[in-house]
């Protein structure tokens, strides 16, 4: 009986290897996932094509699957909440994924939010760094010490006497990468006290070039990929600050409010004009070798880049995407339509 079953399984598998994929397979960032799957749904509902499968694997996980090769069992498109890294591009090339097109679909703001009942808080990026970094400068600013701060007013006398607590994403998350890039790295790379250590010994002290180590003494609580959980925690803990994507802030505006960064609250306008600093671009990458083999890819890309989806009043904008300025949208629309190849030098910019 065992033998029969085993051979049946083997037969099923053998029969299946020859099958080509008839459905678009998309992987990648959990931040782009809601928009990508919305477009997928609309494509499935309004055209004859099958609804693409969209899997939320995180930006890094998506790149890994995407760059694994050209086989039909590899994803056709990967979403990312950050740009492809040069290392990932190289990996793609090595595995034969030679031609890739990059498209930017919009922005995502990272919100620092707190319970609506808590007094408003205004921070600078440097204050955020001092609150979350594992090592911070001492009082004189001459050397680094383990982060001693537990109340905001210890960092700056103008801040309230309030316990520092962060609920934020774990290291696997693209939001976490972006948070570290936009606050910690952006500030630390301009602070002598960090960079001089790097200059003193470039190999051993590489991490101080753009310092982004988050403290692990319980002040920053990694809270999983589920942003709704962070929102719930904020309503229970009045002192805490949460870190998540802008769409969650907008959707929960009845119970949480944003902390302002340099006096600017996250809003689509502030992100578009660049005055709100904690924002990033959202991308997707197309595997060109699959364009002729998978039906519907061209239509999916066209739909995703259309005004109807990512325009100022588009459907994705409705569910929390922050639209690109009009001329940028037009630029990426043509880039997507003509399938411009991504070049290694693009990634260095």
């Amino acid at each position: 009986m065992k033998k029969i079953i085993l051979s049946a399984v083997a037969l099923l598998v053998a029969a299946n290897v020859a099958q080509a994929s008839e459905q678009i397979h998309i992987v990648g960032s959990s931040t782009v996932y809601p928009f990508s799957s919305y477009v997928a749904e609309e494509l499935g509902a309004t055209t004859k094509f099958k609804t693409p499968v969209v899997e939320s694997t995180g930006s890094g996980g998506g790149m890994k699957l995407f760059c694994a090769g050209n086989g039909m069992d590899t994803p056709d498109i990967t979403n990312a909440s950050r740009r492809m890294k040069a290392k990932e591009y190289k990996k793609c090339q090595e595995n034969g994924v030679k031609y890739i097109t990059e498209v930017v679909v919009g922005y995502d703001g990272i919100a620092l939010a707190q319970s609506k009942d808590t007094a408003p808080l205004n921070l600078t990026r440097k204050q955020i760094l001092l609150a979350v970094a594992a090592e911070v400068p001492n009082k004189e600013g001459t050397a680094l010490i383990a982060n001693p701060y537990h109340f905001w007013n210890e960092i700056d006398a103008s801040l309230p006497h309030r316990k520092i607590t962060f609920y934020g994403p774990p290291t696997s998350s693209g939001t976490r990468d972006a948070f570290e890039d936009l606050t910690m790295k952006a500030v630390a790379k301009k602070m002598d006290v960090y960079t001089k250590l790097y200059k003193a010994d470039k190999k051993a002290n590489k991490k101080y070039k753009k310092y982004h180590e988050v403290r692990q003494d319980g002040v920053y609580v990694p809270s999983g990929e589920n942003d709704n959980l962070i929102v719930q925690k904020l309503t229970k803990d009045a002192d805490a600050l949460g870190i998540f994507g802008y769409s969650y802030l907008a959707e929960n505006s009845d119970r949480i409010a944003a902390a302002t960064v340099k006096g600017i609250a996250p809003s689509p306008e502030a992100v578009q004009d660049g005055s709100y600093k904690l924002s990033r671009s959202l991308y997707f990458y197309i595997k060109k070798s699959h364009m002729d083999k998978v039906p519907g890819m061209k239509e999916y890309i066209k739909l995703f880049t259309s005004e109807q989806m990512i325009g100022d009043d588009g459907a994705c904008t409705d569910i929390g995407l922050i639209a690109l300025p009009e001329e940028m949208r037009a630029k990426y629309r043509t880039q997507a339509a003509s399938l411009t190849n991504l070049k290694p030098e693009d990634l260095k910019k």
Partner: protein
């Protein structure tokens, strides 16, 4: 005598008190556990019940050339934000299917947008704009807004817009995956148990196998996901996210449970039955097939059902093999991408739109109902299997 008696009495009272305390601890533990359960049920049911109703609004639908070009034109501009996009976008297709509609203006009940739905149900955080709130209230007075039973929840697949999201696709996926799991795990598990219990010699090797099986039953389920990824997807080339890979992975996970339960059931069949059969000249196969297995069957089935119920509620290994994804359509074959109920609940729970909160709870209610009925069947078998020898 008096002092001795008195001391004995005191000791007895002390013992009685200890006895009572002990009983009380046990009782308190049960009350504590029940309180959690009750809290959970109340929370889930109170959150989930509203999801079984869905708002509809009555608007005039314009079937014309302008709508064909831009589906937002199907209703008057002031109603555009109240009508679900998932309904609007299908209007052009409707006209293509039924050309006689073109040129008509019809008054129709259509699916309302999720914010309208949440507003009508009185949920905080509905985020309906105040001008739309006024409009909805006015329409409510005119009887142009209603809450109806949410048939869509049971007849549709996943959607990014909560008013259109349903559990049908994931329920079908669950059934398919469970069938595959059963197909692979039960025969292999039962055969393993029969071999180990009836035929295998008691030596080092079988002892090692036994220890390993018991150990496998206890390891975290996510490891089976990694195993499934390595063997089925990377080595055997089974398509990612498909029902087949899910079924195979869950079968791996369920195997140890089934083997252990089946062995216990076989062991419970008294040797006198085997000896009587041998005494009458039955072969090994006849003893097992005609006597031991039928008697052990209820126990084996109970174990299998409990193992399968566990598999049904599992998400962690499925995450690794790619079933935690946006897959709105029910699978047409076991090679197509499929999602399952618990995975669907998980994806809804992480959606940003607030209306998904009640869908999540409703999904949990459905899953609980299915699990409860599976376990009820298991209990029924167990009662039947209580043979006295």
């Amino acid at each position: 005598m008096t002092t001795e008696n008195f001391q004995a009495d005191a000791r007895k009272r002390k013992r009685d008190r200890a006895d009572k305390r002990f009983k009380f601890y046990g009782f308190a533990a049960i009350v504590f556990a029940l309180a959690f359960l009750v809290f959970f049920f109340i929370d889930i049911i109170s959150k989930g019940l509203p999801a079984f109703q869905q708002a509809e609004i009555q608007v005039e639908v314009h079937y014309n050339a302008a709508t064909m070009k831009n589906y937002n034109k199907a209703v008057d501009k002031k109603y555009k934000r109240l009508v679900s996009k998932t309904w609007l976008r299908l209007v052009p297709n409707q006209m293509r299917d039924k050309p006689e509609l073109i040129g008509e203006d019809r008054l129709e009940w259509v699916l309302a947008e999720n914010r309208v739905d949440q507003f009508l149900k009185g949920h905080e955080g509905h985020r309906l704009k105040s001008k739309h709130q006024k409009l909805v209230k006015q329409m409510l007075d005119e009887g142009k807004v209603r809450l109806v039973f949410n048939t869509g929840f049971f007849s549709k697949g996943d959607s990014k817009l909560p008013e259109n999201a349903g559990i049908l696709a994931s329920a079908i996926g669950s059934v398919l995956v469970l069938l595959l799991t059963m197909l692979f795990a039960v025969p292999i598990g039962v055969m393993t148990a029969i071999y180990l219990e009836e035929f295998a010699p008691d030596n080092r090797l079988t002892q090692i196998i036994e220890v390993n099986i018991n150990n496998l039953a206890a390891i975290p389920s996510i490891l089976y996901g990694l195993l499934g990824l390595a063997i089925f997807i990377n080595f055997m080339g089974v398509p990612r996210s498909s029902a087949l890979v899910g079924g195979l992975t869950l079968a791996l996970m369920t195997l140890p449970v089934i083997i252990i339960a089946a062995r216990a059931a076989l062991r419970a069949v008294p040797d006198s039955i085997r000896e009587a059969a041998y005494g009458l000249g039955a072969s090994n196969l006849q003893v097992v097939w005609h006597h031991v297995l039928p008697l052990a069957m209820p126990g084996i089935l109970t174990g299998s059902i409990i193992g399968l119920a566990q598999a049904m509620g599992e998400t962690a290994p499925l995450l690794i093999v790619g079933m935690m994804a946006y897959i709105p359509e029910a699978p047409g074959s076991i090679f197509e991408a499929t999602t399952v109920l618990p995975a669907q609940i998980y994806t809804w729970s992480s959606e940003s739109l607030r209306a998904f909160e009640e869908r999540t709870a409703a999904g949990i209610m459905v899953l609980l109902a299915v699990l409860l009925s599976l376990n009820a069947i298991a209990v029924k078998f167990r009662n039947r299997s209580e043979n006295t020898w």
